[in-house]
Amino acid sequence: MTSTPPERTRLSARCADATLRSVSSARQQQRLVGAVALLALLLVIALLLASSAGATNASWRAAMSGDVTARAILLGIRLPRALLAALVGATLAVAGVTFQTLLRNPLADPFILGVSGGAACGASIATAAGLARLPGVVPLIAFAGACGATGAVFLLARRREYTDPTRLLLSGLVLNAFFSAVILISFGVSRQSDLTAALRWMMGTLFGATWSDVILLTILLVIAIATLASIGNDLRMFSFGEDDAKSRGVNVERVKLIGFITASIVTGAAVSVSGIIGFVGLLVPHLIRMMWRRDFRFLLPLCALGGAILVVLADLLSRTVVTSSELPIGAFTAVLGVPFFLSLLRRNR
């Protein structure tokens, strides 16, 4: 016998497999669980920090020991606000990673498809019409604007049962330009006294967050994440283009429709309660990609947590840096996120 005995061949093949299995299924899942645990811990710390800091001195210890004022401030004002910040951040980051994956474009964010433009347009028209003084009307009209804009963009990009990603991006960009024009005109005809509130909304604010906002957005976000997770394996196949995904048995048009509508509706809801908070949807998915994996199953939960942490901290800074007034949150998401992003970008080649 000159050739290798069959057992030995089989054995060496098995050994080769074992060494090649340094990338294994179980290890992937362990890594994801570890990352989720780490970010969840950071989020809890950020929430505790955000709810204990503020203009009035009120601590969790005082609230626990029966201080009625402290309890009212913490449970009635700061905690819902911090939680709403977390939900808005999570929503924007989840929508961002969904759009980036679907459009195969690293510059896509939740606002590029006209969602925020539509919301802002609705809000500014409502302000011009003098409706801003009625409670709850502006968020509602903003949400309607966001949905309307999403629908318009989708219809514009759709041709013969095919939705072209480039046409989607272009329609969104052009509609955004149109919305900016409408917003400027609306501001021109608005009353001076209504303008301050409208401007604050444009810059993003979580002032006046209520528990009902928190509950509503929680429900929507849970549904959205569950829906996106259910198409997660299909979304991953978009990395190599739609033709490739189709040839792998993915129903591309259906996945696109579900992904866009889910991400847009939840963004519309978040924007209507928080106003425009930039950078989160664009930055967080890139941060997570640089720190962990580029796999959608990692990105979905980790972006949700990362976005939440970023906006909670940004909101904390926006209301504590200057004691006399609140600064725009969107500015602080950039202040916090950009240096972190740039340092990662430098380290990653």
Binding site: Q28, S239, D243
Partner: protein, 236 residues
């Protein structure tokens, strides 16, 4: 295995594929040649179910394509587009294991067996050493081999490659053609690839013979007039 009967497809007003009839068996390496714009890519897309023919029938294992469940068909037939370029660079092993997608359930993760298949596919394409490298750190030739491994990872019976030799220099073309021939011989798969150049298609014919399975020559050509050009289909 694969049969095309009077298959036609057109974009806008021009006919890209006009009444093609052909059939293919197991263990063949077939080059699809013809000038640019003659509809080679379109034909591959039709077979890959990326596009649906406007007229005619395509059948795999005697069953019409539209009667195959999408995921089941994806397990049998793997397609590699001309220039697959992910928006975000990935590691080779992740690229290859993504070829196992048709076997995954809705919420399922790749199992160890999927990683084993991916590792074997990498080995088959002689690129095991690139396992943890990112696509943007590879040469064009290395990337082509990784993508070939991705297509092989599902252990399909038919592989469709759209211009796999494009942008390779002549020595890499020879190496890659030899690799394709080798894979056909070792796995019994049928590879159908598009290439504009008849010279590059020459090794395919050799592989055809090397396979030693005695297939018949599949000469299939445009019957009737072609709206855009007089492109000719040939396997030689």
């Amino acid at each position: 295995m694969l049969e095309l009967r009077d298959v036609s497809f057109g974009y806008e007003s021009t006919e890209a594929v006009d009444r093609i009839t052909a059939s293919f068996g197991a263990t063949q390496l077939i080059a699809l040649t013809g000038p640019n714009g003659s509809g080679k890519s379109t034909l591959l897309k039709l077979i890959a179910r990326v596009l649906a023919p406007h007229a005619g029938e395509i059948a795999f294992d005697g069953k019409r394509l539209r009667d195959w469940p999408a995921k089941e068909y994806a397990k049998q037939v793997a397609y590699l587009p001309q220039d697959p370029d992910p928006a975000f660079s990935m590691r080779a092993i992740d690229v290859v294991v993504s070829g196992r997608a048709p076997f995954l359930g809705r919420f399922a993760w790749e199992r160890d067996s999927d990683y084993d298949e991916a590792a074997q596919a990498l080995a088959l394409c002689d690129v095991s050493h690139l396992r943890d490298r990112y696509l943007d750190e590879m040469s064009g030739g290395e990337r082509k081999r990784v993508f070939l491994a991705r297509v092989l990872a599902a252990r399909p019976r038919l592989i469709l490659l759209d211009e796999p030799l494009a942008s390779l220099d002549i020595s890499h073309v020879q190496q890659f053609s030899a690799l394709l021939r080798d894979i056909v011989n070792r796995t019994g798969v049928t590879v159908l690839y598009a290439t504009p150049d008849l010279n590059w298609a020459a090794p395919a014919r050799a592989g055809h013979r090397c396979g030693g399975t005695g297939q018949t020559q599949q000469a299939f050509e445009h019957r009737g007039s072609c709206a855009q050009n007089q492109g000719r289909w040939d396997d030689r």
